[in-house]
């Protein structure tokens, strides 16, 4: 059976998802405060790596990267509720793109697996 990443449509699917997902994140008052001062282009590239990872695609993420990359946000109050929101927006993005619920659950499970690293605990 094809991998989740292949079933979702690979790199092209990530490209289709990244703008929709990032737009949702920037429009959501529950989480957009964390993105106020960032360089949008650099951030879009990071969103793409993140989506590739949660789609089960090839990535070079390590737990340490996740910890280092979010440490300053945890200091600013990043917590479980924000991770929940991101996973919710991820699901809404995939739904919009016509992805089946069972696959959205698989993606959410991968995103959930890095929760502790992201929250530095």
């Amino acid at each position: 059976m094809a991998s989740l990443y292949e079933r979702l449509g690979g790199d092209a699917a990530v490209d289709a998802a990244v703008d929709i997902f990032y737009r949702k994140v920037l429009s959501d008052d529950r989480v957009n405060g964390f993105f106020d001062d960032v360089d949008m282009e650099a951030q879009a590239a990071k969103q793409k790596s993140f989506l590739t990872m949660v789609f089960g695609g090839p990535n070079n993420y390590t737990g340490l990267d996740m910890r280092e990359g979010h440490k300053h946000l945890v200091e600013r109050g990043l917590n479980d509720s924000h991770v929940d929101t991101i996973i919710e927006l991820l699901g809404a993005t995939l739904k919009e793109l016509g992805v089946a619920d069972s696959e959205i659950e698989e993606v959410a499970a991968i995103a959930n697996s890095v929760r502790d690293d992201v929250l530095n605990r």
Binding site: V18, D19, Y22, R23, L26, S27, M40, E41, A44
Partner: protein, 333 residues
Amino acid sequence: MARVKYNGLVVEVPAGRSVLDALLDRGETIPHGCRAGACQTCLMQATQGTVPAASQRGLKAAHRERGLFLACSCMPEEDLEVCLPDTQQLRIAASIVGRRALADDVMELSLRTSEPFSYRAGQYVTLWRDAELGRSYSLANLPQTDGLLQFHIRRIEGGAFSGWIHDSARVGDALDVQGPMGDCFYTADDPEQKLLLIGTGTGLAPLYGILQDALAQGHRGAIHLFHGALARDGLYLHDSLTELAAQHNKLHYHACVLHGDDEPAADIRAGDVGALALERIGTPAGWKCYLCGDPTLVNGLRKKLFLAGAAMKDIHADAFLASGPAPRDPLND
């Protein structure tokens, strides 16, 4: 803490401090400009050690391989030995062939390079008056066979380079050109796509280049150019753009002034250029957008256009960064 050897000195660079600031702290003279990794004025070369990837962003592969890096963006993680690069290989000689006032505080500067110079209109270069004074400006004209380069130079209060251009530079004066840099230029991948060009002040310079490029390449989609200025005098290409728009059905020129003290003329709108643009075009979904000029406006509009539906890959932005003073060293305060 990394040790950086330069010119016989060994300088200790604390974590998070740039090589540029550490060397300036020690009284060394290192040319620099934007301090944000854009203008490439602070280019240096590492002869020993590996510089962080972030300090080589935007450099040509050949330059990266030679160890060139931007001192302002280099927070070293290991010991380095660095020098100023051989400028002969990076810059080409040019001389001033014309100066023409476009407005009270905007001068059109025309240069001719001593050898062919390849670029895309809308990219930018660093112009060097001498070994130490370099500033970045956008290329406002299409590449010419005779090496003519044109720039719109706004007078900056107390600005060393712009003051020189406005007050004392003469035809025949020599300067050097380094670059080109940046990816804010026309691409003919979809000649039917609508183009949205928004600029403030001399942010018009790259847009004027991009506009001419699009017309020269036979772009077929509508082109909307919005130029924002504080007051009427800042709309320094108003007449020529009005005329150009009259010659090209697909070109729409929108002049905007922020402070409409008196009733603006029938062909000039008063208000925020970004808001006026969004009001005029509706949704930017599917448009290719170019944003140039004031960094606050450019970065704010980039976000607005993206949220309003423009694709990230279709937004090209060139925020004009002022050459800034050194930030204070938090460890030495």
